[in-house]
């Protein structure tokens, strides 16, 4: 029996959704060159989806260690607030970016400390920061929505390089670096080992607590990066709304992408596809004029569908049905 790639279903779902869109709206897949820049719905999906993709990258590792990080949305808001405040005070772009990612690292360290060193349940530990983080962001911007007027900053999210949108390029670079870091070294294996059986990996001489902490720190850094992109995209720090529900989209992307919530094996590429799938769905519904209040329903249906297709039990059941029909 050939081992089927676990990427098959998310990829199939993504392609199917694109085709469905193309059938109902031939302009959907059209990409045009305007002023030397690429435009079109697919480009839009990449640009708008890049933030979720980045958050989901970090989330993949946390989930692979058997944990979860609910605080990413709040960290996005904090990082955005840090950017706004520093730029407002006239600090340079480099310092601003480092500080924003640093804020994410700090948040991730706090989560890691609670989970890996103090043994708090991941959901509870990160729920703390999920709730408190918004408050911190509010505090930073003094409850205001701060407008950011910095062209180079905005360029990060909305700029084009050689005709290509910059934000997806940056996120793609993050994915490639993460892949190399995890798979060219043994870090990826260590993460999978800890997620598969934490106690056994400790017995095998791995520093399980440190590996878990690193996963949360990395996740925080990714959320910080996504916070920069979010603030740059809307040219403002909105402590209230920035990163809202981002943790859910990120978790969906990871799970749809084939990484199990129980931890262990992870698939970075799967996560990227999962994030794009979710963004495509969001964009589709937006284009169809589905009211935002109803939008989560199709999303939920899609996720259940992909999750079912990935489950061994359903596949066996489906195969059994097919077999019975053949026999009849």
């Amino acid at each position: 029996m050939k081992v089927r790639s676990p990427l098959l279903w998310p990829l199939a779902g993504f392609v199917a959704l694109l085709l469905l869109n193309a059938v109902f709206n031939p302009a959907f897949l059209k990409i045009t060159l305007l002023d030397g820049h690429l435009y079109g719905v697919p480009v839009d999906i990449l640009v708008q989806g890049s933030r979720t993709m980045l958050v989901a990258l970090g989330m993949t590792l946390v989930i692979a260690t058997g944990g979860i990080d609910l605080s990413v949305g709040s960290v996005v808001a904090i990082a955005g607030a840090v950017c706004a405040v520093l730029l407002q005070d006239g600090h340079g772009l480099a310092l601003t970016l480092v500080a924003a990612v640093g804020a994410g690292v700090l948040a991730g360290s706090a989560n890691g400390l609670l989970v890996a060193r103090l043994g708090v349940q991941p959901i509870v530990a990160t729920l703390i920061l999920m709730v408190a983080g918004r408050g911190v962001a509010q505090l930073l911007v003094d409850g205001q929505v701060i407008i950011i007027a910095s062209a180079p900053f905005e360029f990060l999210a909305n700029g084009f390089v050689l005709g290509l949108p910059l934000a997806p390029l940056l996120v793609a670079a993050a994915y490639v670096s993460a892949h190399l870091l995890l798979r060219r070294t043994a870090l990826g294996l260590f993460v999978e080992a800890v997620g598969d059986n934490e106690q056994a990996s400790r017995f095998a001489g791995l520093a399980a607590a440190r590996i878990k902490t690193l996963a949360y720190v990395f996740c925080g850094a990714c959320a910080g990066g996504a916070g920069i992109l979010t603030a740059a995209n809307i040219r403002a720090a909105d402590a209230y709304r920035a990163g809202e529900n981002m943790e859910l989209d990120a978790i969906f992307a990871v799970v749809v992408g084939g990484t199990a919530l129980t931890g262990g094996r992870f698939l970075i590429l799967g996560t990227a596809i999962g994030a794009l799938l979710i963004q495509t769905l969001t964009t589709t519904m937006y284009n169809l004029g589905v009211p935002p209040a109803v939008a989560p329903v199709p999303k939920a249906l899609l996720i259940i569908g992909v999750a079912l297709l990935q489950s061994e039990r359903t596949t066996r059941w489906l195969r059994g049905l097919a077999g019975r029909k053949e026999a009849a």
Binding site: A186, L189, N197, F203, G205, L206, A207, R265
Partner: protein
Amino acid sequence: MSELLELRGVGKRFPGVVALDDVDFTVRAGEIHALLGENGAGKSTLIKVLTGVYPADEGEFRLGGASIRPGSPRAAEELGISTVYQEVNLVPSLSVAENITLGRQPGRAGLLNWRAIRRRARAALARLELDCDVDAELGALSVAHQQMVAIARALDTRARLLILDEPTASLDEHEVAELFKIMRQLRADGLGIVFVTHFLDQVYAVTDRLTVLRNGARVGEFATAGLPRLELVGRMLGREVSAAEFAAQGAASPADHAAPPVLATHGLGRRGAVAPFDLSLRGGEVVGLGGLLGSGRTETARLLFGLDRADSGTISVHGAPCRIDSPREAVRLGLAFCSEDRKAEGLLPNLSVRENLLIAQQGRRGALRALTRAEQEQLCAHYIAALQIKTPDPETPVKNLSGGNQQKVLLARWLATQPAVIILDEPTRGIDVGAKQEIEQLIAGLRADGLAVLFISSEIDEVVRNCSRVLVLRERRLTGEIADGDLTADHLMHLMAGTHE
């Protein structure tokens, strides 16, 4: 005598493996029937398809004349088949009482009758003469006690057929005796019992007939009394074996006493676990750690390996004092510890055989100095051949291997780190006669290469055979040592039980 269980032409394939091929198997009411074979022969698989853990590809099952096809272990239980699986499948976070009665708790209208649950659990444990708190969390118990709880659970039903897949692997002589007493009693009551084990002594002690499997096919069915031991081994391995091959190994040569100890402790201890003890291990010697269940053997190993923190005493490795406060530190210093609890403390179930094999060595090298793919493959090929690990290929998830082969993977994991000291806690647990032989030879070879081995086993013969001296623990205290000349099973047993004349 009536046929209680009849299996005809059972087949089961897994990707890359034919686990069962046209197997017939019959068990009569009122007999104890041994199911024997090498690691990976298909014993557990036969039990699992019979009890509905997975569907059989083909075959017919009859129980008491009626055709059956249970779709789940629960359904099998309702048909009167009670099973203790090789991998204890209880819930570690629930109490002993809950585990024993799980799925059949007494109570009415969805309300549990806790008093009845406890009473029933206590009664079940009392049958095994096991003294154990029914409110204790199962996960906190030793492997042996968990095993006993699993057996107690299986006895807590009105079964017609009782299946025991390697129930004695981690039990002491005393518990085994209790279990056998009950098995004989159940046999007298007319139950059919299927008993899987790698201990041939036990086969001859309790079973009436036996069936041998090899590579998923049935070799034959025999009356136990009519089959000499050597012939039985020959049937299992599929080749002639000579008595010399299974004779006692040459006694371990005494180690060079001039060399400094590789590992030494002075007054090392931890309150409530082990009283302070002095120990020294020299390169090239195999030292046994003897003691009854709960005497502190595993606790001693945990202390040496940095899993528990000592609250007194010192450790030195190669003469240099050091602190070992984590397994990581221990591994870095050249220690290795093969735990007895392979499911909880050993296996990375969903990772491949290759990854399970190299994880400790990679951990020792650190994340940044990754072994190349070629190095990994070479390492795997070497150990798969050396320990004869039966796996379709190195990329198979280790959970798909048979129990004995999983154990070999864990041994290989530690050998691959090329340690200076290896602590083996029940290393031959669940390993077949042929492989046990190979592993003992391997240990002898390692000793010759200058490795120090601390050997823990509840099988006294095994300890006597492999060790040059044995440290005896009783009630969590090091109470004595037997060296070369005096090392006999009798003497050791007396010291362990504290009935030294």
